[in-house]
């Protein structure tokens, strides 16, 4: 006789230790002895002091909480594949804990007498049990780890990716700015200021003969020791200390320490008798080490071309990777990374302005939309942006818009150069639709708010998270206030927005299965963005709009604000804030590990803990969606 049921039990058990150590035949035999037990939510499997059952349990679906004696604290939560209730059987004692279902659960009960022989004959099974009893934390999701949701499972494999500093070659600027012995100190200082550099090389007949640094100007000119009209020759350090270009970071640091200098001159053959090819500063080294956001910001500000920003963005990514590895709180991480991203964009805007023939005719602002606007964009993704300019008389409108469209094109090209993909939906400032005057944007947004169809809701959900990256603050704030006032007048818009937020149902159904994509290239992948992050992001937007709170575009900050405003829902809102951070951290880690946007998750690649941790956020999503549904009476428009 065929027994599909015991076959399925075996299929399940074989993926988890210690059953994974059994031979197929042993497992098949064992599976036939299993009892499948269904537990309603909050029902007991066993109680403290109860004499041990003749079986132990494996969670098939759902979750079982193990409580201490007084049922005061949860000591452990057993999830899919976790074993519990085995130790009392081995030690021949009564249960020391109470096991109670956290949610509806299906258990596999395995008779100890049928399992005991395998412990005796299979060493790996025995080892596993000994180990899990000894550590007392078969399930690492215990109290001490609870704070580190979506913690460091990825840490070990990414750590080795950073090349050893000792082997990493220095990256130096090849654009040498040089002067001659006869150049005046004043003009040297002017040039250093305009180029934003800290040292000037002095050459004679194409060969390096000396160097003047900021320090020389301070010590020799500002003190009055030499006059400002002095020639370079009189204050330069000479001869220069030169090195070959193939220098590792450590060697360069050693060289600077040894000679107590801040700049090394790199020459073709490493001696003063060949042409200088680059100057290496302490600052460059720090940059190579890439562990200092302040240094990066400075470097970004110093760039002269978008191409120069690109390598700095790699530094930003290294920084991000390091932060994630060190489990720096995500709030801080995202703040720093967003600052750096903003600094890059800002610099691109500045550089684009330089490319224009004239200055902007009126005040304007460059807005980041979507995730960048919410400061939740840690990985490079698409650019979503808009350009907002001050109102001008109708007669001047076309000319003004043409100017800004041209500027926006420079900006979007620049952003693309530094690693932001073009927006496939063309939501970019270079599109006339997204390059408009204040009243133009007012008109557009009020149209969305008064006639909210699915497209309008989608557009609002992207646009309303804007954040000013560059330009006039007042202009942006005028738009924000206008939007909030209009929303207040048309509360039905919130219902539509809420309905849009509920478009993506929470990612799990009964038993918290992952809903995976049904078709397309990402078939059977879990869409982390759509299924988990977006529902939270969308919900936060509706809530904060309904509370008429402008100027907070970040999702977890929105939830924190909501928690502050509504103390009765505080717990849920804080859970949402937490879940958002956890999911973003998770997405970012996935993205860094797979070198993509981290959006689609291959569930098979996740280990059990990661899956469980992900699933824990789903409950929160479900709850917040229920709140939206009720609060904004979504059913009346559906």
């Amino acid at each position: 006789m065929k027994n599909t049921i015991s076959e399925r039990i075996a299929d399940f058990l074989k993926t988890f230790p210690p059953f994974s150590n059994l031979m197929k035949k042993q497992l098949d035999t064992l599976s036939e002895e299993v009892t499948i037990i269904y537990k309603e939510k909050n029902s007991f499997v066993f109680n403290v002091g109860e004499s041990a059952h003749h079986q132990f349990y494996v969670v098939h679906k759902g979750a079982i909480a193990l409580w201490d004696k007084e049922e005061k604290t949860v000591l452990d939560i057993c999830d899919e594949g976790d074993i519990f209730g085995l130790r009392p059987l081995m030690a021949h004692e009564n249960y020391r804990l109470t096991a109670k279902s956290e949610e509806e659960t299906i258990l596999y009960a395995i008779p100890i007498e049928k399992f005991r022989p395998y412990i005796k004959e299979n060493r790996r099974v025995a080892d596993f049990l000994v180990e899990s009893f000894a550590s007392n934390t078969r399930n690492p999701y215990d109290k001490t780890n609870r704070g580190q949701l979506l913690g460091d499972a990825l840490q070990s494999n990414s750590k080795n990716n950073t090349p050893l500093l000792d082997l990493q070659l220095v990256d130096f600027s090849g654009n040498i700015v040089s002067a001659t012995e006869q150049t005046s100190v004043k003009s040297i200082a002017e040039k250093m200021t305009s180029k934003g550099i800290g040292a000037m090389l002095i050459e004679k007949e194409g060969l390096p003969i000396g160097i003047i640094t900021d320090k020389d100007l301070r010590n020799k000119i500002a003190t009055g020791e030499h006059s400002i009209s002095a020639k370079a020759k009189s204050i330069m350090s000479s001869p220069v200390i030169t090195y070959p270009t193939k220098l590792t970071i450590t060697q360069a640091q050693m060289a600077m320490m040894k000679s107590n200098i801040s700049h090394l001159v790199l020459t073709e053959d490493g001696t003063v008798h060949s042409k200088a090819v680059g100057i290496l500063s302490k600052h460059d080294i720090m940059l190579s080490l890439g562990n200092n956001p302040a240094v990066l910001v400075k470097a970004i500000k110093r760039t002269n071309k978008a191409e120069e920003i690109k390598p700095l963005r790699n530094g930003v990514m290294n920084l991000l990777r390091g932060y994630l590895e060190q489990n720096i709180p995500l709030t801080l991480t995202s703040k720093i990374i967003s600052e750096l991203n903003d600094a890059c964009i800002k610099r691109v805007v500045e550089l684009s302005l330089e490319q224009m023939d004239s200055g902007p005719p009126v005040k304007f602002a460059w807005l980041a939309m979507g995730s960048q606007g919410r400061s939740e964009q840690l990985l490079h993704t698409d650019q979503d942006n808009a350009l907002l300019f001050e109102d001008v008389p109708d007669s001047k409108f076309d000319k003004t818009r043409d100017y800004f469209l041209k500027l926006a094109r420079f900006i979007t090209v620049g952003l693309n150069t530094i690693g932001y993909e073009y927006c496939p939906a063309d939501m970019m400032g270079s599109n006339p639709k997204w390059c408009n005057s204040l009243s133009g944007f007012k008109k557009m947004t009020s149209k969305w708010i008064t006639n909210p169809g699915p497209d309008e809701v989608l557009l609002s959900s992207i646009f309303f998270d804007y954040n000013r990256v560059y330009g006039d603050k007042k202009l942006v704030s005028k738009l924000s206030h206008y939007i909030f006032d209009t929303v207040e007048q048309y509360p039905i818009f919130l219902t539509h927005l809420a309905s849009g937020a509920l478009m993506n149902p929470s990612p799990s159904g009964f038993f918290r299965e992952f809903l995976v994509e049904q078709d397309g290239v990402h078939k059977d992948f879990f869409d982390l963005k759509l299924r988990a992050l977006m529902p939270l992001v969308d919900a936060a937007r509706v809530l904060i709009l309904s509370r008429n709170i402008p100027d907070i575009s970040n999702t977890w900050e929105r939830y924190e604000k909501m928690a502050e405003l509504e103390s009765n829902n505080k717990e849920l809102f804080l859970a949402c804030s937490y879940a958002t951070k956890a999911l973003l951290r998770f997405r970012t880690k996935q993205g860094l590990a797979n070198n993509d946007s981290g959006r689609y998750i291959n569930l098979e690649q996740l280990n059990k803990e990661e899956k469980m941790k992900l699933k824990r956020t789903f409950k929160t999503i479900k709850q917040i969606q229920e709140v939206l549904n009720v609060r904004f009476m979504v059913s009346r428009i559906r």
């Binding site: 065929k2 599909t4 049921i5 015991s6 599976s31 499948i36 037990i37 269904y38």
Partner: protein, 223 residues
């Protein structure tokens, strides 16, 4: 046609005799047998069972060992339904005689077990036809229909008047894996989990109350 009374098989006599005891009223004490049949078609008279899958469910527990699935030898065969259940008349699986299959089933149904199935009337009708063909009588067990009970578990406004829900609907509602859908035991297992979920919702105080909820019960029996 048929066998005379005195020639009734031994297993039927045992089955019949086991019904003397009272059926327990406490839901946890009731022995439910969740079953499903795969058939050559939907006509009770013309079509035949190709397989029977059944499991015992008591006190929210299923003992894997108790579950069984048998494939039956049949001469009637409908190519159209092969697409659904994938059972070919002379497929590779080991087949047994229908009478043998009934014997195994009746053993499980002894002692007042309550039959649970999705659209239970059809399965019971099929089994009854087979029993009668072999000279026995209709099943004595009480039965419950998960389709009807599911309908009852919904808020009044959401209920369907015809009470028709496919097992797939229940799978989706309760997020039950469809891996073994359209195998007799696979469907029986799905039905069992759905049944447990429905019980959780209905929370009947006694078996009697539960049977009452299954309003179409008498109607299906005439099927």
């Amino acid at each position: 046609m048929g066998v005379k009374k005195e020639h009734l098989p031994e297993f039927w006599k045992n089955y019949e005799a086991s019904f003397k005891e009272e059926i327990p009223q406490n839901i946890a004490d009731v022995s439910f047998v969740v079953l499903d049949t795969e058939t050559t078609g939907f006509s009770l008279k013309k079509d035949r069972m190709l397989s029977i899958g059944a499991l015992r469910l008591q006190n929210s527990s299923i003992l894997a060992k108790d579950a069984f699935e048998v494939f039956l030898e049949q001469t009637t065969f409908d190519e159209k339904t092969v697409e659904i259940h994938g059972i070919l008349k002379k497929g590779k699986v080991k087949r047994i005689q229908e009478l043998e299959g009934l014997k195994i089933l009746l053993k499980l149904l002894e002692n007042n077990a309550v039959i649970v199935a999705h659209h239970v009337g059809f399965d019971i009708g099929m089994i009854n036809e087979a029993l009668i063909r072999h000279g026995m009588s209709k099943l004595l067990n009480k039965s419950l229909d998960t389709a009807v009970l599911f309908n009852r578990s919904l808020p009044r406004v959401k209920r369907k008047t015809d009470g028709h829900y496919s097992l797939d609907v229940l799978c989706e509602e309760f997020n039950i894996s469809k891996t073994d859908r359209h195998t007799a035991l696979g469907d029986a297992y799905i039905t069992a989990i759905a049944f447990l979920r429905i019980l959780d919702k209905l929370k009947p105080v006694s078996l009697e109350k539960l049977l009452k909820k299954d309003r179409f019960w008498e109607f299906w029996k005439t099927f």
